[in-house]
Symmetry: C2
């Protein structure tokens, strides 16, 4: 609060470092602080000036990740329509998280630590959403909410990897992800 607006450049530099950290750690979770500083076009000294220890930077990354995740969730309007349609919209929004997707998949504890108050992974209202899908017949009742969540994240991550490996277009990969997620969680005709 008191020093947030000192010069404006402080906030800008800090954000550049956090953004670079998400990008670099998303592609290579074991990256060094030097790599992150280089990606942010900043000296390693400057990075330590903003985040004294590595844990401080990771904490800031976790906070930023939680914020972006919450924003994407809100934009998907998870309370509207059938459970399956809400899941579909969630996938579309989450897919745009890009590098953050890989980071959240490989280091789920990033978001868990700051939200230490809650018990399980990250389903405060997600469980309710899936159970709504169970009731309205749009989601296979045999699949527990936790498994549906695992399916979604693993397929989003698979899609992001598929995008990097093959030359497929972003749009085409999203189409594949949505198609297979729909099939996986949809109620069985049997």
């Amino acid at each position: 609060m008191t020093d947030a607006q000192v010069s404006g450049s402080r906030a800008r530099t800090r954000q550049a470092i956090v953004d670079a950290a998400i990008e670099v750690l998303g592609r290579h979770p074991a990256a060094s602080l030097g790599d992150i500083a280089a990606a942010a076009d900043v000296g390693r000294t400057t990075l330590h000036r903003y985040f004294a220890e590595r844990a401080d930077l990771l904490s800031a990354v976790g906070t930023e990740a939680a914020a972006r995740l919450a924003r994407a969730t809100a934009q998907a309007r998870p309370a509207e329509g059938t459970g399956a349609s809400a899941v579909r919209r969630l996938c579309q929004e989450y897919f745009d998280l890009g590098d953050l997707l890989s980071l959240l998949f490989s280091e789920p504890e990033l978001c868990a630590v700051p939200t230490a108050g809650e018990a399980e992974g990250c389903d405060p209202e997600f469980t309710a959403l899936v159970e709504r899908g169970h009731r309205d017949g749009s989601i296979d009742p045999e699949l527990p909410a936790g498994w549906v969540q695992s399916i979604i994240w693993s397929q989003l991550y698979a899609g992001w990897s598929y995008l990097a490996e093959t030359g497929a277009s972003r749009h085409e990969v999203l189409r594949l992800v949505l198609r297979t997620v729909d099939g996986a969680i949809g109620a069985r005709p049997t």
Copy 2:
């Protein structure tokens, strides 16, 4: 050949180290050689006696991984039945790979390096299997073989993680994986 049967204990110790490496690296890819030696109940000196450099151990792990993978694939009889049924049997066999599953998912280059002669990931006959499924109507023709492969591995990995997090039984998790994979790759009623 010449020194393979020197005492029998050499082969046994070597195998114990490779097995421990798969187990430890599967759970924590950044594990140190000391961790692996401890898991194998072997001194770090002994480990270096069998594998001079870290790369040598990783190479041996890659070879062992390829062997187990080939054995699992053969047991699934991928040439029999419909494409979807073959995929289902592959999932069942691969699921039993255990820690190797995590390792192959997080370090795909382990198997790729020794098999440097081939072009893409690991679909010599897998592509043919999926295309058989396209023709016999058991696999959604809109899904390319590479994407089907991505789906399978990501869901197997998700299942293994789900098994570790929740207290679900191995059998129950395999049931969930098979159900969602079937739904994901199956031809659409639309």
